[in-house]
Amino acid sequence: MDNFPILSLILWLPALGALGLLLVPRENAELARRVALIVALLTFLVSLALPFGYNAAPGDATTMHFVENLPWLPMFGASYSLGIDGVSLWLVLLTTFLLPIVILSTWDSVHTQVRNFQILMLLLATAMIGVFISLDLLLFYIFWEFTLIPMTLLIGIWGGSNRIYAARKFFLYTFSGSVLMLVAIIGLYVLHRDALAASQPGYAGSFNFSTILANLRSGALQLDTTVERLLFGAFFLAFAIKVPLWPFHTWLPDAHVEAPTAGSVILAGVLLKLGSYGLIRFNLSLFPEASRWAAPAVAILAVIGIIYGAIVAFAQSDMKKLVAYSSVSHMGFIVLGIFALNPEGVSGAILQSINHGLSTGALFLIVGVLYERRHTRDMAEYGGIWKVMPIYAGITLLVALSSAGLPGLNGFIGEYTIMQGAFLAPELSWPFLSFAVLGVVLAAVYLLRMYQNVFMGDLRNLKNQELSDLNLRELATLTALCVPIIALGLYPAFAFGPMQASVGETLAGIVTAVAGR
Amino acid sequence: MDFVLFFITAAVALIGAIAMLVARNAVHSALFLLLNFAAIAVLFLLLQSPFLFAIQFTVYAGAIMVLFLFVVMLLGAERVEDTPDRIPWQRPLAFVLGVALVAVAVAGVLRGVWEEPPGGEAAAAFGDPAQLGALLFTDYLLPFQVTGIILLIAVVGVAVLNQRGRAAPAARRTPTGE
């Protein structure tokens, strides 16, 4: 079991499934859905071995686990190098968990070119998992960029009326953001190579994250302050656009609104997390000094995002737009937690990434349920839905409360930890905490307002009288999402456990930097 | 003596070139260019290159220019259409570039040597066509062969470009472009 390439298996299973789907006849939608679902479930099952095997895996608590290393481009020192730690563990699991749910939801929401939809979805899954588990910067970049292609096509082909605009905007925004990251990766590689070539002539360099990190910490590679800040900035821009941090968020509402339900779920659930993951993994670890330098400014942007997202969400009448803007707000929390630069904040950010994936994913599914029935997302069209769809309304309440951060549910734990982190951070402290609290309050306001408008009151609109409650599939997907929502709320230690050591390791550079001054 | 001859031919060459440039009629341009080529041929002779003098006269002044004249007359000088000038800013840009280049070239030369080329016995023997011929078949064998191929291609090209003209164009006409 020690050397079993489990990460490779998880990584390539969906891609293999996509290849296999090519054999399915194009017209046979049912078969395509089933094959995709089986593949997704299989992937999820395999990935379940990760948390259980995590502590048993070789390597001490602070390093990478399940590491795989194969030479790939030896002349550049780039390798096929995989591994996870406490930061990425849950994100991988979130991806594999959401995948079958998303595919299950396509029965009700995707009706054209079903096979191709599944192919793209599975390819997207491989790319996203790849981003989380790549330890090689070049490999990471390749997966990172590749996520764009399937996602753009998903939005552009199966999206709503304005899908082309949204797809194009999504692609160009994120692509432009990440080309600078490529320069930074190349720059880091060259600096690292040249620094080490001084003592080891003929050194081919390395793109390996762990190697570069180790050499940065040991002082074998020293970055000039300006250089470090520039590199930080290039990475940061790519991730900030992906997160998205205010004011880089403008692509998000368009993409969300136009994307098909399954696309929105995966976008909110996982794709945004690529950004927060990148910030933690690369910005914090590799550039601790620059992180400290930038933290107050970034935190201000994050707070603006929290408040702005909440206010704009409040003003929406389109439910999907509301959820989309609530994402901007929630992701602001996550960035705030990350740039609190302490274990509380970062752990909270990771947990909140998971929470947001679950809750917002569920919210998009919920909106999708209504949309499939009535083909409108305007809140004014609804009201009193509770009376015709009680189960649906109950689940929605749970999810909305989780998203609003009700104690006892997962959202509370994440937001509380983040706020604790922000409070403890000397640069942030009170003012930031108060804005964060305001954000939480606002979240409760707009979510409950939506709930009230849609579910409470009388059945004003006659068209809504015929609405049927959740079918079995919808029930299954939503229930599946509710399980971790409750579980994480009741027993967060299970998630925090493996995180601690890795977060500590990530912040080691920053702690040293503090001690050194 | 050399100098006198040089200045006269140089003046003829320059006048021919400028006249070619400003002549409105393509036939006149061709004739002025012919004059210029002849002057250059004379300069070749001054530079002890009798072989090139002969080639310049037969190939350039003879064959090429006659071909030019032939085409000009065939098409009618006025019928040769102007090449369209599409992108307006490129012309001034190219103009500036050209002038700059020439300025650089002249400036470079003005810093150069003014002494005479070497004389003596070696110089007297220089320029024998036999020498040139020998080189063509020894050191320059490969380029020599390649020029042969280039000429072959030119022949093929001329044939290819014009043989299809024989087919009835009306029957084969296709709408072009968009």
């Binding site: - | 080639i55 040597v113 090209g157 014009n162």
Partner: protein
């Protein structure tokens, strides 16, 4: 003997005239002639250098340049004739020239 510099200046002038001709004349044939002038200027300076260095390689190069120029002229004129014939035989209105 005339110093090489004289030849260089003369050829530079001829070259410049050739470049100008390509750039400011719009008649395809005259443009073509200007290119020939440029090549001739190059030939002249080559021969002058060959004489200065008493190295006959320069003359050999001229030989090649003249040959290639002849080939180029042949193809170019063939193309011009072909265009003329095409335009002559097809309806002029239907001939679309390249857009800008």
């Amino acid at each position: 003997m005339v110093p090489t510099s004289y030849y260089i200046i003369l050829s530079a002038a001829l070259f410049a005239i050739g470049v100008l001709g390509v750039l400011i004349r719009r008649n395809a044939l005259v443009v073509f002639m200007s290119v020939e002038l440029m090549l001739n200027a190059a030939n002249l300076v080559l021969v002058a250098f060959a004489r200065e260095r008493l190295s006959i390689d320069g003359q050999v190069l001229v030989f090649f340049v003249i040959t290639v120029a002849a080939a180029e002229v042949a193809v170019g004129l063939a193309l011009l004739v072909a265009i003329f014939r095409t335009k002559h035989t097809t309806d002029v209105d239907e001939v679309s020239t390249l857009r800008g």
